[in-house]
């Protein structure tokens, strides 16, 4: 049976103010089954939000485009669908919860009207009926006294309650796929735990599939079934959650985890490292340098200029990038360097590689050679291989 959501070679280009083309999402492929939670994790600017927006067809106007990609929702191709058709799907079969509940709700409309809007648009029912549905959904997401609060404005609610309203808006039509883009970043840890538990409950009850976008490895560990680690617009590592935390393959994933400090709960669970241990322990190595240039198209593993711990000459033959290779079945990871020698290229990754060797086309139509930006060091490999080196800026 075909998966619920099948994304193949998703590539999104954005034109920036300076007329430069940024490849925000670069050949991302994944599949999502009903009832499954897929995590997208990475730093700001790594393309995880743009992946979500691409799936929703909500790209910034004037210059963004999806190239040579396929997004199939329940067997139906979304790329290239006319706007009118897309509007019927968006907010109905696929919905999104945005990061900042302070700015994503309309301050001039009551929450009842905002939650009822998608119902009115997609169900063709009357206002009263839509409001009734709004109260029902608001109750579902745990807003106390939903009927009385329909006439409240967003400013009358706390951050946690606003995020619940956002979730209610997304769920009003019981979508098949819910994209949650950093749903808890603006919230306190206590409220964060409540919201994540709520999302998990609702997902189980409604049988939705969820794409959970976050930069927090702890949230991934608790709520995702599978994790895609993204870096510079690409998937660096993709695997089941238990497997990922059991054995990280990609050096970037290890860096991300090291940056998420973990504290011992009880004396028995682990030890408290001394400052010296903290400096030298490999699990505490941190990703060095700034990711300011992360989303630009680049050569090599997409990470070579960021002070990767494992950079060697093999990482970056000019103009190429490593294919997604598998060390185990169903475990692709895009890096030359893994802890254990990789298996031969699997058929899945072979197809993924074959379409990526295209040059970026500039907006004037002339092909532009795929060259790294000036600040990205062109040197091949790192002399201090095996150590985390600072980027040569």
């Amino acid at each position: 049976m075909a998966p619920l959501l099948d994304v193949q070679h998703l590539t999104t280009h954005i034109r920036t103010a300076g007329r430069r083309v940024v490849q925000a999402v670069d050949d991302v492929s994944f599949q999502l089954e009903a009832g499954e939670t897929l995590g997208l994790v990475g730093e700001s600017g790594c393309g995880k939000s743009m992946t979500g927006l691409s799936l929703m067809g909500l790209l910034p106007p004037g210059g963004a485009m999806i190239k040579d990609s396929s997004i199939r929702l329940a067997g139906r191709e979304l790329v290239g669908l006319p706007d009118r058709e897309l509007r019927r799907i968006r907010g109905n079969e696929i919905a999104m919860v945005f990061q900042d509940p302070m700015s994503s709700l309309d301050p001039t409309k009551t929450i009842g009207v905002q939650v009822a809007e998608p119902v009115l648009l997609h169900r063709g029912c009357g206002r009263a009926e839509a409001m009734e549905r709004a109260a029902e959904v608001l109750g579902l997401v745990g807003l106390p006294h939903p009927k009385e609060r329909l006439k409240d404005y967003p400013h009358q609610l706390s951050g946690g309650l606003r995020q619940r309203v956002m979730i209610a808006m997304a769920l009003a039509n019981e979508p098949k796929v819910l994209i949650a883009d950093e749903p808890t970043t603006a919230l306190d840890v206590t409220i964060q735990a409540q919201i994540l538990t709520l999302l998990q409950d609702l997902k189980d009850r409604l049988g939705m599939a969820m794409i959970l976008i976050t930069h927090d490895m702890g949230i991934m560990a608790g709520h995702a079934d599978r994790v895609n680690v993204m870096y510079a617009g690409r998937i660096a590592e993709s695997t089941g959650t238990e497997e990922l935390f059991g054995a990280m393959r990609h050096p970037y994933t290890q860096g991300l985890l090291a940056a998420t400090r973990r504290w011992p709960r009880t004396a028995a669970s682990s030890c408290t490292p001394s400052p010296a241990c903290r400096r030298t322990s490999p699990t505490r190595r941190r990703a060095a340098a700034s990711p300011s240039a992360a989303p630009t198209p680049r050569t090599g593993a997409g990470r070579r200029s960021r002070g990767c711990s494992a950079t060697t000459d093999t990482c970056s033959p000019a103009g190429t990038r490593p294919p997604v290779r598998s060390t185990r079945p169903h475990r692709p990871g895009r890096c030359c360097w893994t802890r254990r020698p990789p298996r031969p290229v699997t058929p899945w990754s072979a197809t993924s590689w074959s379409v990526t060797s295209q040059s970026v086309t500039s907006w004037s139509g002339r092909p532009r050679p795929r060259t790294p930006k000036r600040r990205l060091s062109p040197r091949a490999g790192c002399s201090k291989c095996g150590t985390w080196s600072r980027s040569s800026r």
């Binding site: 730093e43 706390s158 306190d188 994540l196 538990t197 560990a221 973990r262 709960r265 941190r286 990711p291």
Partner: protein, 334 residues
Amino acid sequence: MTGGGLFGGGKQVVHAVSDVSLSLGYGETFGLVGESGCGKTTLGRMIVGLEVPSSGTVTLDGSDISSLRGREQRRRRRDLQMMFQDPFASLDPRMRVGSTLVEPLQIQGIGTAKEQLERAAELLAEVGLPRNALDRFPYEFSGGQRQRIGLARALALTPKVIVADEPVSALDVSIRAQVLNLMKRLQASHELSYVVISHDLAVVKYLADRIGVMYLGQMVEVGSGEDIYQRTAHPYTAGLLEAIPVPEPALERSKRGGGIKGELPSPVDPPSGCRFRTRCPLAQDKCAEEQPVLRSFGEGHVAACHFPLRTPLPVQPSAADANAAAAGGTTAQV
């Protein structure tokens, strides 16, 4: 600090902070944690004098600075500087970084224009930015770099105490570590004392020698990092720790559905007795009637709870004694 910051919003008066005492030793870091709206930022602003407490004092090096006004106050402010939360809002977008760094020196009348500029360049070097940043505008920098500029500005007058309000919460995880390490390094080289305010317990644990947990304007538990994390006494602290996501799938999945229920009540009309009782899993009748006092759970470890998770020390010193025990060498007694 007795009394609290007074926010007059028309008719309602909010006691943002009520009856909080803390002390800070030389070269020490005090971490303040709590949910949004618990009064930790107001407390930080009162320490540096940006907010005037309705009652209570801030003592620095033995002298009361909260009652100073005018020229005298301006002179003493050199010793207390603030590093703000939002690196995008706290730098004037129309001022070059050089002017931003020179401004405190100009206000305090320190050095000639040339010396001031030299000092600004020195500060940039200390926080790891190139000299040419002097002539650039804030928009040309990333969030992490801006926060470095904010730190350089706070360092300009060689203060004794820096109050850092959510220094890294606006930054990416991989950049956070760099800024925190920089703060630690500068603390060692400048003999700084920090008050670090954050809702992220991991950040506070990394930086702070002692940690104070605030709830609705009150300090509910104070102790060393180990006291707070491994010998937790207050159920609120335990709930906060429980809520931190940890990158261990088995552990993380086992605690689904637990944690603190509900939201922070309104500080306009706080619950009677123990303020945490409305969300506390251990609350009993006594909690609604009687406000708990800080009791000692070990050296420098105090918590205010009727039914704590650990047994308090048999001899119960009064709250004032417990605070005095926690004081150590005092720079700023607040």
